[in-house]
Amino acid sequence: MSATLVAPPAAETLAEPIIELRGVSKRFSKTLDFAGRLAKRLGANLREEVVHAVDGVDLTIRKGEVVGLVGESGCGKSTLGRMVAGIMPPSDGTILWRGRDLRSLNAAEARNAKLRTQMIFQDPYASLNPRLKVQEIVGEAPLFHGMAKRSEIGTYVDEQLRRAGLDPSLKARYPHQFSGGQRQRIGIARALAVQPEFLVCDEAVAALDVSIQAQILNLFMKLRRELDLTYLFISHDLGVVEHLSDRVVIMYLGRVVEEAPAEEVFRHPNHPYTKALLAEVPRIEARKRAFAGVKGEIPSPLNPPSGCHFHPRCPFAFDRCRVERPALKQVGPGHRSACHLNDAA
């Protein structure tokens, strides 16, 4: 197993997919209330607003992989993560758990699939119920789902806390008595307590100090070795993703624009957006250069640009980009990119 872990392209051919997304979309619509409909009938300039947070995403994550999902804020990466974790149902498309459609599972199987996928949240201050003690936060779900007996729950919780790097003697305390890093460890212990095989980490270290970030990232990698975990690691920080991931997926405004093994993305980025993102990662060898950044703001997902979503900010955009949506096409082994420039070349 460890050989496939360090060689991601091999993993892609060997390991079975743990989760597959096929054409998954998520729309949030703000429907008009009665007063709004009345105003519209009287001629007001109102319409139902629909946000395509995620727009037709295909993604396969194989057992044992660490997939990094990168994009600017508002690109739909958190929404995608929540659909993968089963908290939000997709508006369109299917999600396959170990090759089976989530909607076709019966109640017990669906619950099992949900428990096998756990999520680590961004804000360690909002992700723990402030009214429960640590032992209740960690122990509630295993007790409820019968993974531990009431008589053994104390030692079971201790084990999860120790695994997450927390002193079990602190378990009778409330979340507000812990620091951000410790709270994040409590969140990790809560997820581990239901014996997951797949963790979705939504900006799991973004709210922490840099030194604590490293500790938590190391903890994730230690758990991966010990428990044979698979990760979807969502982040806006390419630097964090670079060190962890076997494979990187770049999202822009709800769509996947590039997908490749981690080294390949950093060595040979194909999509202009990926290139622009990489140019912003501070590197020692490039410390004298000025940072240009990506031009302009991310457009509003309420009113996305036509064709390729990136064309208003792309230095290489041409006429075709303004009308036609580029498809994800193979540009190398395990490397796909959605850019019309690849056809022109």
């Binding site: 209330d33 009665f34 929540r82 974790a85 089963g86 908290i87 619950r111 949900k114 428990l115 996928t117 756990q118 999520m119 949240f121 961004q122 804000d123 909002a126 992700s127 723990l128 119920n129 402030p130 009214r131 509630e140 779900a141 409820f144 789902h145 120790r162 790097g165 927390l166 002193d167 003697s169 602190l170 009778a172 305390r173 409330y174 507000h176 008595q177 812990f178 620091s179 890093g181 410790q182 460890r185 969140g187 809560r190 997820a191 239901v194 500790q215 190391n218 903890l219 990698m221 230690k222």
Partner: protein, 304 residues
């Protein structure tokens, strides 16, 4: 990373539960503590009225019609001192107030508790279900709040007639909307927080998420509104009784006692209305003092 990182214990030497912190913050205000003591004393008097009142004002055998409208401090025909005077039936005002407090507090607290249960459930349902259910419940709330409470209560009592249960019912009808709106507001905020998503991710059933995770975190504003509404319900009941539509004459509340003495006010017999009025005022002020401090302690935005 070969060694397991055991995170060090936080530096705080004494472990304070949220409840202990709440108690010490509440006690920081002397005047709120005074209000609480006053309120507890009033509750004790109301509960113990049959044992500590000098006279049972409902027992006609103990009353002497010749003692009617005596001034405070007068010794009556039976050698009995009326410290707060008597009303026109010869009833001891002090005993009347003690028994009146019983009715007033019972009606106030009873209606507040029922209104809280009804309102909180509907508000929680509105927040969690959303959509049409939410619109329907919240439009009902708007409708309810657009009527002056006293007018709505008067209409209901005019329709149902007098009686303690009818008064409680009317007060529930005019008060549930405050609870529903408060709970919906805080539930909408809380349900978007990540610990609710975490609970969903742990495949816990919706009922458990609502009652174990969502509701306890919506309680603080509910407690504040509840305290204030008890005071409001007592005042409203007194108003209704004063207007002659509240409790029946056989079970006088403070409002009815005030109404009884109203016609004697201008003939110098002030005590029949005055002392029940003072009792009502002290009760409402003590509850409001407690409620104000609760609001300050429980509202995180007011914390420094």
């Amino acid at each position: 990373m070969s060694t397991t990182t055991i995170a060090a214990a936080p530096a705080a030497p004494k472990v304070e539960t949220p409840f202990q912190r709440f108690v010490s913050e509440f006690a920081a205000s002397r005047i709120a503590l005074f209000g609480l003591v006053l309120f507890l004393a009033i509750v004790a008097i109301a509960v113990l009225a049959p044992f500590i009142a000098p006279q049972n004002p409902y027992d006609l055998a103990q009353l002497d019609i010749m003692d009617g409208r005596l001034e405070p401090g007068t010794v009556g025909a039976g050698g009995f001192t009326y410290w707060l005077g008597t009303d026109d039936q010869g009833r001891d005002m002090l005993s009347g107030i003690m028994y009146g407090l019983r009715i007033s507090l019972m009606v106030g607290a009873g209606s507040a508790i029922i209104a809280c249960l009804v309102g909180a459930s509907l508000g929680m349902l509105a927040a969690y279900a959303g959509g049409r259910t939410d619109s329907l419940i919240m439009r009902l709330v708007d409708l309810q709040l657009s009527f002056p409470a006293i007018l709505a209560a008067l209409m209901i009592l005019a329709f149902l007639g007098k009686g303690i249960l009818n008064v409680v019912f009317a007060l529930v009808i005019v008060e549930w909307a405050y609870y529903a709106r408060t709970v919906r507001g805080s539930a909408l905020v809380e349900r978007r927080r990540e610990y609710i998503e975490a609970a969903q991710c742990l495949a816990l059933p919706t009922r458990r998420i609502i009652f174990r995770h969502l509701l306890p975190n919506c309680l603080p504003p509910l407690i504040v509104v509840g305290t204030m509404q008890v005071a409001r319900a007592i005042a409203l009941e007194a108003t209704l009784s004063f207007l002659g539509l509240g409790v029946p004459i056989t079970e006088p509340s403070l409002g009815l006692l005030i109404a009884n003495g109203y016609e004697y006010m201008l003939s110098g017999k002030y005590w029949i209305s005055f002392y029940p009025g003072i009792a009502l005022l002290v009760t409402i002020v003590s509850i409001n003092l407690v409620g104000d401090q609760l609001r300050d302690v429980l509202n995180p935005r007011l914390k420094r």
